[in-house]
């Protein structure tokens, strides 16, 4: 059974069909990329999976459990952690505090209104481990708002990792980075994915990034899945080529 399964997932905004009967299955340990032209529904797909947007129809199962329609904080707690396309951090907190608050969310007594030194300790340990995995140990004490854009993008990933998720959802992790920064970030991510065996759902614009990281690719076009398969097969697919070239007509 796949870890994350979507079936017939549809999202309408009035007459606009942002997602049209999307079906896909992500296996444990797989790095899956979702690609598609602008407006194909990639980010909507993320929002529907993570519960920030409710699907109009269809079912979403995580480890066999239906999650469509649950509030996003509950979905997150089941083990799906996401990053955002537009960097979203706590700018006045240090990188470590950012990751610590993220790890704390998975603690059974995250709300404790007094003391809590041991909760902070456990969360800090996870935060430091996550920062180390992405090579951010050196900037752990820097306020997140002062980090370079590249480090901010990686910090978001580290925050998601600090939650020890079962599925990591990355929304354009290299968005807005320069060519060099992108290369660096991708190498860091590739190294981490190889050693950790993490299940990842990745939305990305940059094809080089996709082919470097993904095991399998799903192509969205106007909200519908038009191809799904290994990177080589998808690259050779006629419908995919047309969808991308169609954008220039």
């Amino acid at each position: 059974m796949a870890l994350l399964e979507l079936d017939g997932v549809t999202r309408r905004y009035g007459a606009l069909v942002a997602l049209d009967q999307v079906a896909m299955a992500v296996e444990e340990g797989e790095v899956r990329a979702v690609i598609g032209p602008n407006g194909a529904g990639k980010t909507t797909l993320f929002n529907v999976i993570t519960g920030t947007v409710k699907p109009t129809a269809g079912s979403i199962r995580f480890a066999g459990q239906p999650i469509a329609g649950l509030p996003s904080h509950q979905i997150c707690r089941l083990g799906l952690s996401r990053t955002f396309q537009i960097t979203s951090l706590f700018p006045e907190m240090s990188a470590r505090e950012n990751a610590r608050l993220s790890a704390q969310a998975r603690h059974g007594r995250r709300w404790q209104p007094f003391g809590g030194a041991h909760i902070f300790e456990e969360a800090s340990a996870r935060a430091d481990a996550a920062l180390k995995q992405l090579g951010l140990s050196g900037i752990a004490d820097t306020p997140a708002g002062l980090l370079s854009h590249g480090d901010q993008r990686l910090l978001e990933v580290a925050m998601a990792l600090a939650q020890q998720p079962r599925v990591l959802l990355l929304d354009e992790p290299t968005q807005g980075l320069s060519v060099e920064e992108t290369q660096q970030a991708v190498e860091t991510l590739a190294g981490f994915l190889k050693t950790s065996g993490m299940t990842v759902l990745l939305v990305e614009h940059d094809m080089e990034v996709v082919f470097r990281l993904a095991h399998r690719i799903t192509v969205l076009h106007r909200g519908a899945v038009i191809a799904d398969g290994a990177p080589d097969a998808v690259q050779a697919d006629k419908a995919v080529q047309e969808a991308y070239l169609g954008g220039f007509e």
Partner: protein, 318 residues
């Protein structure tokens, strides 16, 4: 708490505890009121400074606490000590409902809902004459003795110590709260609520909880005011007071707990000094407020701590 700060706070508490032996009765009255207002402003800081929940209706907590306490002191034989804490508890319980409704909205809409709730109570205080005394308010509120013949709180000095104990106790509670895991989540909500939700926190519950605690402590301040002044009237629920307490928090330094207490004392002092010179004292205080917002948005305590740090390690000054 750093050792230096702790020593400073202990010293301040000792000085305040010794105040009745050195100050004339008139000054003691002013000081008591300043401490009550300080408690009130500090309670708002939990919402405004730590969670960025801007309340335009914090007078609701103060007035509700004052009326509840006044009503019970006038119409029951319960000892003052129980009534004060009972009124605070009642305010906190009501605030769970208020918080539940107000947190349906965010940003300015949240602020407007808090204002609407305070104005609702203001209207009720006018109309529900049998309980609130209408536009006359409740007068002749006594400081009752007990339990077991314990009558230290009936005197002005005894009551001052109760106020001081409440302020110190509330400060310690707030201090523990903002440094706890719960407080870390509040800080997350302040800086980026969408991200806090995405991390898996049900931020609305945290917001309702902080509203309840802030109102309970604001209610405690109001409950102390009623037997202190001997009356409770509609002004305690009016939006003017909600605005004034926001000013105290901002001028004192939001997000610091200590700052709002200083802000309240500063406000009292200015009101007292300026109004002895001119009728238009509020105009001049308004100018002072504008100056703070423009030139020292971190407030009195923010400026003071920054200055202390700079004088301690001059090499790290920026």
């Amino acid at each position: 708490m750093s050792a230096g700060l702790r020593a400073l706070l202990v010293a301040v508490v000792v000085v305040l505890a010794a105040a009745p032996f050195g100050l004339p009765p008139f000054a003691m009255t002013l000081l008591t009121e300043a401490l009550i207002l300080g408690l009130f402003a500090m309670s708002l800081d939990l919402m405004f400074g730590y969670t960025r929940l801007v309340s335009f209706g914090h007078a609701a907590a103060y007035g509700l606490g004052a009326y509840a306490c006044g009503f019970m002191l006038l119409h029951t034989d319960m000892p003052l000590l129980f009534v004060v804490f009972g009124a605070a508890l009642l305010t906190g319980i009501v605030a769970i409902g208020v918080g539940w409704i107000c947190t349906l909205a965010t940003g300015v809409s949240f602020s407007m809902l808090t204002l609407a709730f305070a104005q609702l109570l203001y209207a009720i205080s006018f109309k529900w004459t049998s309980v609130t005394g209408g536009s006359d308010g409740l007068a002749g509120i006594p400081r009752t003795a007990g339990p077991f013949g314990f009558d230290a709180l009936t005197s002005k000095t005894g009551f001052y110590y109760l106020v001081l104990a409440c302020l110190v106790g509330a400060f310690l509670v707030c201090f523990a709260l903002v440094r706890s895991p719960f407080g870390a989540v509040l800080r997350g909500i302040r800086e980026n609520e969408a991200k806090t939700i995405a991390l898996g926190y049900n931020t609305r519950l945290y917001k309702i909880a902080v509203v309840a605690v802030a109102y309970a402590l604001g209610g405690l301040a109001g409950a102390l005011y009623a037997p202190f002044a001997g009356f409770a009237n509609t002004e305690l629920l009016f939006w003017l007071l909600s605005g004034q307490v926001l000013i105290m928090v901002i001028v004192g330094g939001s997000g610091t707990l200590v700052g709002p207490i200083l802000g309240a004392a500063f406000f009292m002092l200015m009101e007292h000094q300026l109004s002895s010179w001119t009728e238009a004292w509020a105009l001049y205080f308004g100018l002072i407020f504008i100056a703070f917002v423009l030139f020292a948005p971190q407030g009195i305590w923010g400026v003071a701590t920054a200055w202390l740090q700079r004088s301690r390690n001059p090499t790290r000054a920026s």
